[in-house]
């Protein structure tokens, strides 16, 4: 198994002077769930948003270091950002269904990429909805407005929408923070399926979820990568005192 993503000495400062990442280096394995966890403000989401260059749209003063995906530095200004975002899909904390029907939500990304053949689109809709474990619930009302679905369903539609683009990497930023336990379970189950084909990076909304889902886990504290390793060892016998304190609930 190789590292799909290699982050080398990444530092990042927002224009208001807040340092959000300090000299981060880590590799992310292919076909595994890598969890970035830690208290709020630790830089997890910022790092996630670097991986698909969504941070381009916020104001960032300085950034140093490199992020290599398949050996290519995506922070290079010459990178095709649009192509990168198709390759690195993202699911947000609050489900963002676009103001259209369920079907259109799913085909939107593909149409943007230039796919017009209806058979291909229909095929992608069915395949990705099945992968996101929501096909059986909504297959009879694909043409209803997506906003009429429940929160849990919307989140899985968002996941399916990302999958429809057949990305290689999936970023999830607290995807279950607004969901009930049953929907959360469904999303987590979908993640287990997904890691067979994709590289998954998850920012969980709780330590418990981190422990459940992680193949690999990275603990972030105030912009610093404190500890990174296999999920099992981090959650059962962390090497760093700070990790142990957080995992056992002494702070955070």
């Amino acid at each position: 198994m190789t590292d799909k993503i290699v982050i080398e000495a990444l530092s990042l400062t927002y224009s208001d002077g807040v340092e959000s990442l300090r000299n981060i280096s880590m590799g992310v394995r292919e076909n595994a769930v890598t969890v970035l966890f830690g208290p709020a403000g630790g830089g997890k989401s910022t790092l996630l948003r670097c991986l698909n260059r969504l941070n381009d749209l916020t104001e960032i003063r300085a950034s140093a270091g490199r992020i290599l995906i398949d050996g290519e530095n995506i922070l290079d200004p010459k990178t095709d950002v649009i192509a990168l975002r198709r390759k690195v899909g993202m699911v947000f904390a609050r489900p963002v269904v676009l103001p259209m029907s369920i079907r259109q939500n799913l085909t939107y990304g593909l149409e943007l990429a230039g796919e017009k053949r209806k058979s291909r689109l229909d095929e992608a809709v069915e395949r990705s909805l099945k992968l996101a474990a929501i096909w059986d619930e909504i297959k009879d009302r694909l043409d209803d407005p997506a906003i009429a679905l429940s929160g849990g369903q919307q989140q899985r539609v968002c996941l399916a929408r990302v999958l429809a683009l057949q990305p290689e990497i999936i970023l999830l930023d607290e995807p279950t923070s607004g969901l009930d336990p049953i929907s959360t379970g469904k999303v987590e189950a979908a993640l287990l399926e997904l890691k067979k084909e994709y590289t998954v990076i998850l920012v969980p909304h709780s330590v418990q979820q981190a422990a459940r889902a992680a193949d690999f886990a990275a603990f972030f504290l105030q912009g610093e990568l404190v500890e990174y390793g296999e999920g099992k060892s981090i959650f059962t016998m962390p090497k760093e005192k700070r990790t142990e304190d957080y995992v056992t609930g002494r702070f955070g």
Partner: protein, 298 residues
């Protein structure tokens, strides 16, 4: 102690309520006077005269059709100018411009909105209409087209600031969702941000239209004021006269209580009804989309 507070509460509540009700009273009074002064027209002027093509009050020709078509022509022209230009500017300010640019542009647009229309009319007479006359080779530069351009300019700030508010209130997460799917900036604006802000943008358009229908000073100065039926495309480039300009120009000289006087009030009623229709249409569209959103949320 407690008693004084209660007393103060009582007075303030009543005062606030009274000022709230006063809005209704004023509208009702305006409507009442319009009706009282305008309705006698039906008794004094035969309908066939009223809806004829000749407005020449001194010889008892009271055909208001040229005035209505003049108003509509100028308003349509102004809308065609103001809507694309205004929405384009709003999109630029809210979606594309860097922050420092936005901070310059927004106050500028608001300043433009506060410009007295007589100033614009003056510029129209001095600069725009001579330019149009030579550029388009017209017999006169005082045309419906000139009025449309200027009125469009007057409506642009209204459209911009309301449409910009609407675009601005689209949650950032919508845009990020589209970007994360590989949408370009333009695709995001066209397929996600604009549709999400559509009710606000529509309100902006309607208020812009309302602003142009009611505008008086500028049109009186630059449209030439010839009461000619304006229904062919060619009449865009000839002088027209609007309802507002007619009232403003003639009300000062008319004998109180005469037929002419009542007819001018009748024109006022027509204007009142047109802007009522525009407003009701605008708010019903907004209301409907709001209801749809509420239904979805519950």
């Amino acid at each position: 102690m407690e008693k004084t507070l209660n007393w103060r509460e009582f007075v303030i509540t009543r005062l606030v309520r009274a000022s709230g009700y006063s809005a209704i009273v004023f509208v009702a009074l305006i409507f009442f006077f319009l009706l009282r002064e305008g309705l006698p027209t039906f008794a004094e002027v035969p309908l066939s005269t009223l809806f004829s093509l000749r407005w020449y009050p001194i010889e008892d020709y009271f055909g208001i059709l040229p005035l209505i078509t003049g108003s509509i022509m100028v308003t349509l022209g102004a809308t065609l100018v103001a809507v694309p230009f205004g929405i384009g500017t709003a999109i630029y300010i809210s979606e594309i411009a860097p922050r420092w640019m936005r901070e310059i542009l927004k106050p500028m647009v608001e300043l433009l909105g506060g410009l007295p229309s007589v100033v614009l009319g003056f510029l129209g007479i001095l600069i725009l209409s001579p330019f149009l006359r030579t550029f388009l080779d017209l017999p006169t530069g005082l045309t419906a087209f000139t009025g449309s351009l200027l009125l469009g300019g007057i409506a642009v700030p209204t459209v911009v600031s309301i449409a910009e508010d609407a675009l601005d209130s689209v949650p950032r997460s919508y845009r990020e969702g589209a970007w994360a799917l590989g949408a370009t900036r333009w695709q995001t604006i066209w397929r996600v941000t604009l549709p999400a802000a559509s009710s606000g943008v529509l309100t902006a358009v309607m208020l812009g239209v309302g602003r142009t229908i009611g505008e008086t000073m500028t049109v009186m100065m630059v449209t030439g004021n010839a009461p000619v039926l304006a229904i062919t495309p060619g009449s865009l480039f000839s002088p027209v006269r609007t309802m507002t300009a007619t009232i403003a120009a003639e009300m000062g000289e008319v004998a109180n209580g005469s037929v002419h006087y009542h007819t001018l009030f009748f024109i006022g009623m027509v204007l009142f009804i047109i802007s009522l229709i525009v407003n009701v249409a605008a708010s019903s569209v907004v209301f409907r989309s709001k209801k749809r959103a509420e239904r979805v949320l519950s």
